[in-house]
């Protein structure tokens, strides 16, 4: 392969693919049983991190950045004046294999601009995955993008070679989508998602009866929403998210703070800040929903449509529900322990294991690694010392904020920072 040409293409097509934040390479169970190359069992591995602190786990590229659509938020939109390029199927295969052999990556994340038609594009994505699996005996991780509008037949084939399939919702509300991507309809995104969901269920059911049934997208489906491009509330985002998790059995919903890339009046202008803090709070809420047993309505509802930026969503919930505290760590059940601000799931498990041997006091809790600056106001333990003042939520919040320093302090301060 010609080195210079590949180098140029890789630069263009990696640059265009970087706005997709999904990087996960875990959750699959593809074993290397044939002494081939690669193994996608167990946890994912981040082989490096870019200077923006994001993980590099997969070779994340577009097959091409030619596109027939003109979505305002997208850098490869038809009307944007950027350099265009396209990989050949074999070139992507060679790059993936050679990167993988050097332990640079866990696998391939292939997406594409839509050229000619949805089916034509999807067919090429599937061709890459098929070649990797059948000709190169590759067992690493493959994440393919489902192209909105692709035929059911192609989606079925894609799942047979890929570990994960994803289709990006992009804009959380229908009205926002209409404004920013008039060519696209929400149904176009949901149709392939629905198809894949049903295939996964069907293949899993068949596998229970016939063990040799091939795997179908073993790492499931994911999607992404752009945050802060269309003026949506946190409530709208997270309720959509909850809907997607429940209705389509998604493994992950990613939230991507909008990075200004155009002078379009419908969008935040170039130079405006990426809403990173808001993105972080949304991820925390997502975790509370998936792992901490919270219902989205407890965290976001009509009275409370936006998340607090200065405190994490669990602390926010606790301050609104002070009547449920303090919690006795030596007695409370797991579910309630998980609701204490400053106590994560790992600490919950440690507390439950450790308290079988003796009653836990402050010293024990501190050593287990619990964030005492927040937790101490919400718990009692084997000690006479605990918070006795009857503090209101506002008082408590200001005490906690005063005593803790957040890495976001700079972002929250109303003062202008001259030296940055």
């Amino acid at each position: 392969m010609s080195f210079e040409r590949i180098q140029e293409k890789l630069k263009i097509l990696a640059d265009a693919a970087k706005y997709d934040v999904s990087c996960s390479s875990s959750g699959s169970n593809r074993k290397n049983t044939t002494k081939g190359l690669g193994d996608a069992t167990g946890m994912g591995i981040c082989h490096s991190y870019t200077e923006d602190g994001r993980c590099v786990s997969l070779l994340k590229i577009l097959l091409t950045n030619h596109c027939i659509f003109d979505c305002a938020y997208c850098v490869t939109r038809k009307s944007n004046d950027v350099k265009r390029a396209a990989f050949q199927v074999q070139e992507v295969v060679d790059l993936t294999i050679n990167f993988y052999r050097r332990n640079y990556i866990e696998g391939l994340f292939l997406s594409s601009g839509i050229f000619k038609s949805a089916d034509y594009t999807m067919e090429r994505l599937v061709a890459v995955a098929k070649k990797l699996r059948l000709e190169e005996n590759f067992h690493g991780y493959i994440h393919l993008k489902s192209i909105p509008g692709a035929s059911d037949e192609l989606m079925r084939e894609a799942g047979l070679y890929a570990d994960r399939l994803s289709v990006n919702i992009e804009i959380p509300t229908e009205s926002g989508l209409k404004l920013l991507a008039p060519d696209k309809k929400r149904e176009d995104f949901l149709k392939p998602m629905n198809k894949v969901k049903h295939e996964i269920i069907q293949y899993q059911a068949e596998r229970k009866i016939i063990k040799s049934t091939p795997k179908y997208a073993p790492a499931g489906q994911s999607t992404q929403m752009i945050i802060g491009a269309s003026g949506e509330t946190d409530q709208q985002i997270m309720w959509t998210s909850q809907h997607l998790y429940k209705k389509f059995n998604l493994k992950r919903v990613y939230y991507s703070g909008y990075i200004p890339i155009s002078y379009d009046d419908r969008l935040p202008h170039i130079g405006s800040a990426v809403p990173m803090l808001r993105e972080n709070r949304l991820y925390q809420t997502d975790w509370l929903m998936r792992f901490y047993g919270f219902d989205v309505q407890e965290l976001l509802n009509d009275q409370h449509q936006q998340l607090d930026l200065d405190i994490d969503p669990k602390l926010g919930w606790a301050l609104r529900n002070l009547q449920q505290f303090p919690v006795d760590v030596n007695k409370a059940d797991k579910q309630m322990l998980a609701r204490i601000p400053g106590v994560g799931i790992k600490s919950v498990n440690k507390i439950v294991q450790a308290r079988r041997f003796r009653k836990l006091n402050w010293e024990h809790l501190k050593r287990l690694g619990i964030a005492m600056n927040r937790a101490k106001y919400f718990i009692t333990c084997d000690s006479n010392e605990f918070e006795r003042r009857d503090l209101t939520a506002i008082q408590l919040k200001s005490i906690i904020l005063k005593q803790s320093s957040s890495k976001y302090t700079g972002m929250l301060s109303p003062q202008l920072n001259l030296f940055q």
Binding site: K18, S48, T50, E51, D52
Partner: protein, 256 residues
Amino acid sequence: MKESVTLLYDGTLEGFLTCVFQVYEQKLIDVSIKETSKAHAQFFGTNETIVTDFKQSKRVWNGLKSKTSSTGRIRMLYAFLSEMDGMEDVLLRYIQYVFKNPEPVDSDFSHLDVLKVSQIAKSVGREKHRMEAFVRFRLTKDGLYFASIEPDFNVLPLIQKHFKNRYADQKWLIYDLKRSYGIYYDLETVEVIQMELPKGFDPTKTCEDFFSEEELEFQTLWHDYFQSTNIESRKNMKLHVRHVPKRYWKYLSEKN
């Protein structure tokens, strides 16, 4: 009163477990266990060299098997491989605590030694995971994928299986420069090897005398990819360095 004794062993897990056996056999109370190379003459107390005995070490291990969970034993192994000063004594107290109690205690995190072992095991596990991520193979002229590392802890025994499963169809060698040994896969099995590096060989450079022609091209492509996939407006070097500590940079081609 008996005087204090330091038991010296050869640095292997079996050697350490033999010492543990001797502690019970000789009913030692004021005792410490050290690797021979780390020991120095004692002002108070005596040194005693223990010869590794597989029968004795097996007995201790089997005893542990009946009283601990597999996670508990993995934690002990990880903590042992940390090679940290005084780790043997922590492990000895841990083992004594395990044997003293009728119930399994390896998840009693309110006990100081149990907590310590689990914390050190966590750091070793983290280093193991880092090595699985940061090993960068380079293709040599004779078709071998070679990587050199300098991990904080002795993690080669822990990463062997991972690489064997993953790179089953290529010959590879991962060499620990700090501890002067490596693991080599010859398409069939993984062997522990020791070797002399060629004179003038700089492990951080990809010299054309040793490495294949296409090697530098792929390093360039990887380096470029790493640059292109970064989003400038989200730059966060603090986070970057936390994930990729600077001491690992010299072996990462994308950082050079």
